[in-house]
């Protein structure tokens, strides 16, 4: 088994050690130091100076720096492609191919274009972070909140990068809690910043820590944030929120799910791949571990033919992006679910192993427990409109096929509590400048100030 040691970062300074050992199912062990009380004292003592340095940077300088990091990540000779992919694959349990695809997405979110679009869309005009701008009858300026605390989730490495960069582009200092499921990505990003220039304010504006959720130190750390971004499941959200006083804004991302609505046109019956190929891609991404991942599909049309085509699409997709070992512990549950479905008279298609599973029913029933790991429940409906009543605010993303029906049905869908309507194959691809989980996250990271000359 491979072992590696990663440091913590205290305002960009490395703190080495190996007090804690995280084992990832015998694929890799990650050792890292524990956070001590004196570390928190250091953070408090140096916080103000770093906040002030960061405030001196223009957005343009910040975006240039992020671009530099992206260029390094694109290089075959840099450690990310050389070693990082393999390490991430071992830690997450996703296949190498899946990690490579995921990193492409991450790099797409490290471009100047992405952040310009995002800033302009979320704040109206990115200049407002650098200077006073006229808004109505006043001069308005956006200031950072100060510190953003990020409690990260381990399902998708992208989460770390997007969360950290949101903090930096709004000139906030980041205090990052690594996820015990995926501690590498924050380390990779801050290491890259240091490789560019370890004295740069953007390299020094980040603190990366690890503790086991619920430990005593948690309360002290999250209370250093002026805003807290919490990613993850119910336990993480509950655990963090109980530490926070009313004046600290906590923004929650997760837990949610995706749903696919498919209406098959008659002329499509001979070419089902048009819908099943992109559908399989949505299901395959991150092995169904993401908040957008489809868990349920409602199909109007010949479900049996459709399922056969989807099975073939999933086989092809699995060749491109093989399912990793992340879900081996779920095999018992998935096997039991398959048997239960057969016992209840449902049709079950599966890969023969545990690469994917389709469970087909004529009548809708709520899914109380979902094992994830590329398992899709398909319900037959006479009209996809019927399925809209089964949507609720637990659904983040709905993918609709055919896509021309999006404009017809989206209002009805979002009124059910859904935040995002897209088309098949795009559930895992978020448009720059679009809201996230019903909000513009950057709005939680700035303080709007006004002046009248």
């Amino acid at each position: 088994m491979i072992g590696m040691e990663i440091p913590l970062f205290l305002w960009g300074e490395e703190k080495k050690g190996s007090d804690i050992s995280l084992d990832f199912h015998n694929r890799i062990t990650v050792n890292l130091p524990a956070v001590r009380k004196k570390d928190l004292r250091y953070l408090r003592e140096h916080n103000r100076a770093i906040q002030e340095e960061l405030q001196q940077l223009s957005v343009d300088e910040i975006l240039n720096f992020i671009e530099e990091a992206r260029k390094l990540w694109e290089s075959d000779s840099y450690f990310i492609k050389r070693e990082g992919v393999d390490m991430l694959s071992r830690v997450t349990g996703y296949s190498r191919e899946m990690i490579e695809l995921h990193l492409e997405q991450v790099m797409g979110m490290m471009t100047r274009e992405y952040w310009e679009t995002t800033l302009n869309s979320e704040l109206g005009d990115m200049k407002i972070l650098d200077e006073w701008c006229s808004r109505g009858e006043a001069s308005v300026h956006c200031l950072p909140r100060g510190n953003v605390c990020h409690v990260l989730a381990g399902n998708a490495p992208l989460v770390s990068v997007i969360s950290i960069l949101r903090g930096l582009v709004t000139k906030n200092c980041n205090i990052i809690k690594m996820s015990s499921r995926e501690p590498l990505m924050p380390y990779f990003l801050i290491k890259t910043f240091r490789d560019i220039n370890k004295y740069h304010p953007l390299a020094r504006a980040n603190t990366v820590l690890y503790w086991k959720g619920g430990e005593e130190i948690e309360k002290d750390v999250v209370n250093m944030g002026n805003t807290v971004f919490t990613w993850g499941g119910e336990e993480a959200l509950k655990g963090i929120s109980r530490h926070l006083p009313y004046y600290i804004d906590m923004v929650r991302f997760g837990p949610r799910r995706g749903v696919q609505l498919i209406s098959l046109r008659e002329e499509e019956e001979g070419n089902l791949r048009e819908s099943t190929d992109p559908m399989a891609h949505d299901l395959t991404l991150i092995d169904q571990e993401a908040c957008f991942s489809p868990q349920v599909a409602f199909v109007e049309g010949d479900v049996d033919k459709f399922a056969e085509s989807l099975a073939e699409s999933l086989e092809r997709e699995n060749e491109k992006y093989p399912k990793g070992p992340a879900h081996e512990h779920k095999h018992v549950e998935i096997a039991h679910l398959r048997k239960m479905s057969v016992a209840e008279g449902k049709k079950v298609h599966h890969s023969g192993s545990f690469d994917w599973t389709l469970i087909i029913s004529d009548e809708y029933e709520p899914i109380k427990k979902h094992p994830l790991g590329r398992v899709l429940f398909i319900f037959k409906v006479n009209d996809i409109r019927e399925a809209i009543k089964y949507l609720d605010s637990s659904v983040q993303t709905v993918a609709l096929h055919p896509r021309h029906r999006i404009s017809e049905l989206r209002k009805e869908i979002v009124l059910q509590g859904v935040d995002r309507v897209t088309h098949l194959g795009k559930m895992g691809y978020f448009a720059a400048g679009a809201p996230h989980d019903g909000t513009y996250p950057l709005m939680h990271l700035v303080r709007w100030v006004k002046s009248k000359l």
């Binding site: 998708a156 996820s179 499921r181 499941g233 512990h329 039991h336 016992a343 979902h370 994830l372 637990s394």
Partner: protein
Amino acid sequence: MSIKKIEELLDMEDPWSFELEENSLKEAILELFRMSFEKCPEYRNYCESHGIEDPDSVEDVLQVPLLPGDIFKRKIVSNVSDEQIEKICMSSGTTGEKSKIPRDERTLENSRKAFVHAFTNVSGVKKGGSIGLFMPVVPDPENKEVTWMLEILPPVSRRIAQELHSFVGKEGPKPPAETKEIIAGMESAPRNLLSTPPVIYDFCQSLDEKLPLDSESIVLTGGGWKTKKEIGRDEFNQTCADTFGISKDQVRDTLALTELSSCFNECEYQRKHIPPWLKVTVRDVNDPDTEVEDGKEGILGFMEPISLSYPALFLTKDLGVVHKEPCPCGRKGKTMEFRGRAQGAEARGCALADEENQ
């Protein structure tokens, strides 16, 4: 006929001292299979979905389709008519879906005998002593739906012990001081205690002085720690030994599932012995239709031909191992190690996996 032969084991003095003919259990399982196929529509449909149209075509127990255990949580799966069902036995606990197992009088009686054998012949609870239970001992005869442990343990304890005491009153658990007085006042030796590990542990912790039992007393536990922080087995045994003045090997655990009419009890070597009327089949995690060899971990499945009122042919979601090596205690048959649910990674992130938590 084969089932009757297996049921005769229940009337023996010590079924673990008897070398069962290899085919006897197999024949009884196949008889239960054919009976369930004929009398239980859900099971027949399930078999048909596995390509079995004629039950007589099945000659090997490994061809017998095992129901997923969760099916008992969704519906009442029965081999008998509603009128024949004496009790619908439910799992304990206050959350989640409960299994509901229909038992007729014959199955209930088989079960009482099976439990008595496991408690006395394996765990060494002496007949004629006294048993203190941390649960009510007067079941409600009016209710058809019962909690399995509350239904089975009081009559089983009555058959074993001369004296039976409950440490639970109408208002709930009795205060430790009162419980201590009851134990001290039990007249028939040996005095035995029966409860879940956390209840026994908390009782031990609540005492300000030792409460010595008798030289042959047994502390019999069953069930898990549920929401309580689990204490290691060694520490638990030591706590009991220190509190009750017994040796650590007098603490014996029981594994009982609502879906089974038997239980697995520990001997003095703290190994759980499989009753001779029950087949534990350990299945490949990646292919639950295939049995793994003894000694290897897999998914636990059970075939129990003393449970006649329902298809006691099912697969759990729990992991375990069957050991064929003889136990040093000298009892015949195999032993079983229960390892619980497959250990998953902790919740990873943003995908909603459990709507019950919403």
